[in-house]
Amino acid sequence: MSKLALSNEILMSVDKPARYIGHEVNAVMKDPAGRIRFAMCFPDLYEIGMSHLGIQILYDMFNSFEDVWCERVYSVWTDLYKIMKERDIPLFALESQDEIRSFDFLGITLQYEMCYTNILQVLDLSKIPYYAADRGEDDPIVICGGPCAYNPEPIADFFDLVYIGEGETSYKILLDLYRDHKKSGGSRRDFLKKAGNIPGIYAPQFYTVTYNDDGTISGFIPEEGMPAVIEKEIVVDLSDTYYPKKPVVPYIKATQDRVVLEIQRGCIRGCRFCQAGSVYKPIRKREEYKLEQYAREMIKNTGYDEISLSSLSSSDYPELEKLCNFLIDEFKDKHVNISLPSLRVDAFSLDVMSKVQDIKKSVITFAPEAGSQRMRNVINKGLTKEDILNGCEQAFLGGWTRVKLYFMLGLPYETEEDMEAIAELSNDIAKLYYDLIPKEKRKTKVSIVSSTSFFVPKPFTPFQWAKMNTMDEFRYKAHVVNDAMHRQLNFKSIKYNWHAADVSVLEGIFARGDRRLSKVLVSAYEKGCIFDAWTETFRYGPWKEAFSENNIDMKFYYNRERSFDEILPWDFIDTGVTKEFLKREYINAKEEKVTPNCRVKCSGCGAARYHGGVCYEG
């Protein structure tokens, strides 16, 4: 019988034991002898982590290195967590089922702030000290990366190293340095100092942060020999890099249970709330002919019956039509479904969708993000009411009857009219349907689902200085929208959903927090907070206690307008996009001035210094 870390009795007593057994198709097995062992962790459930393309790319890349064996580890659900704590069972990697503590590296991807307590769960179960400063020579090197690493300060104390930017470029250098260092028998501290000088790699323990009396940062001081600024890493040529052609195929249904084809990275549209759009600049595409090869190979290697395109805005991919036609021709008779998220609704996309989906089941999706044109100008969302209504008109004539709309509440400079405009836009779409489709031709009534999330200002966006709303303000705003919905003529065709305000506030605090928050995270974890991104496990009470016990004022972090002169916790990171550009954009927002997208006109954001992508097209 193949080795398993958990006994039969335990596996038979937990929900979905397949989360913990490994042995999947395309999982990589190697002889550990003489190899650097890297545990790659997505700190959430298996089904979520297995759906993540970034991890698949890095897993494939690490295992392409002859002297490295990369394995996977995920958070364990609350049922198994309890058992492992009670019986003192250490956390293990899926492939070898060996203890994490015996690995050379533990790499954790940070995709959202609300997984931060899960990092502590992983460290706790692995028996690795929470704080990097407390770790010994035999502990694994704990490193993180991913979007939240663009402000690593709230969790900086937990990590030996932080990788800032895209993982494809600097890991080889890091692992080579580690191997040489092991051979020569150097200390952990020496290794970390050297590692902190590799491009894109930040070693937090060699930096001291000082504070003013008002709590703002007065200084960020590197130890001698450490860089004062960390530049983000990017893959300049996306067509000439790693791609996981044999991704691991889970037995249980993952959230994204399909082949994922990343067509481009970055975005040309400068939406002022969007962190991804800013930190992944400049947009870089993968060559279309390569994507055709990947699609064929990946379906063949996995057996999936669905393929999905991935990018921040697929409609901006220059060869989208060619690629879609290829996918339709190639897979039409092979029972492979094609899903096309993040497509602008227009004649082309509706035509493609009618070929690949059942119109009766599919939903037309828009993300206007704000209800009024004024507000959309503030956030630089280049989608007009006319675009939306034109898209809906074509969709309704084509047979679609379901529309989904996504909005945000709490954006800077928002007024009550802007909130009410969300309801009015929803109503206008319903009205369009009833005006357009004569009664006798309506097979069903139109269904409009409008959802609002609460705006959370993020680092490296023009809104990084903005004051975020309080929970009460959020709830009031949702109430305003809900009331306005009920006043609409077609309100029976509209359904309105809004997000929970308490999670948004915590997200806001950790998104723009500093090093003083690490102790709050430890307190919250010790009070039992884990899986905070899951509504069934999230509890706000213990979080509130954790803040007050550590004398941390929550509002200082989220409900305060920062001045342009303030030293921000993430100022030591250089993403290419300059602070001057972000300031300019914040002022443009206030003045409701629209900034054109990268293909229309360069706005001089600074990302051109990477010498690639859209900045050098044509």
């Binding site: 019988m1 193949s2 038979m12 034991p17 397949a18 198709v25 195929v249 996995t302 029972h335």
Partner: protein
Amino acid sequence: MKVRIRFSKTGALVYIGHLDVMRYFQKLFVRADIPVAYSEGFSPHQLLGFSHPLPLGMESVGEYADIVLTRSVPTDEALARLRAGSVDEIGIYSFNELPEKCENAMAAVCASEYLVGFRDEKIHDLEKLVSDLLEKYEINVIKKTKKSEKVVNIRPLIFDLHTEDDKLRMMISSGSVDNLKPELVINALTAPLEREFTSEELIMKRIDQYTSSPDGFVSLDMIGKKIDG
């Protein structure tokens, strides 16, 4: 053309549920380029059916999947491709063409053979317990379903039971009419010791599944015939 595949499910894969096994095979057929036919309609699915579902936690070397092919593939070729695309814990044993008029695997099963061991315990005088049990004319046990509990005489459902070292080999009724779980037999057997075993305390392995024929029980594997190249 209808084909029956015999496969095993062992090792770590005993923790994969029946629906996940079905999804596994759907993908395996694509990886192995087996031309499985699809149903008609808006959401076509592979024409694929399984024999009696294996409980979670149990190993088996006698599982069956029936499929419909759009064109013939020689057995040897199909086996080579399926084995190349499968994990070690799901072994592909046979790939045989079924006769035109033939019950599907699920409907055909009427008996299953199991090998059952005790996980952490040694039972003394196992042979005596077996002979005592088989001497009985009636073995009444309480059968629990989701809705009710009822007393059932399981003696006619036990076709064979004998020891094999510390283990028990049994051939018992299986299928949609009179399905008997092996742990019920074990608990009837150990009742004189006043000891009841949960399925987690046993190591159970399904050896094969059988259908009835005028000559007695026949393995589901014996129904089809090899496809020559």
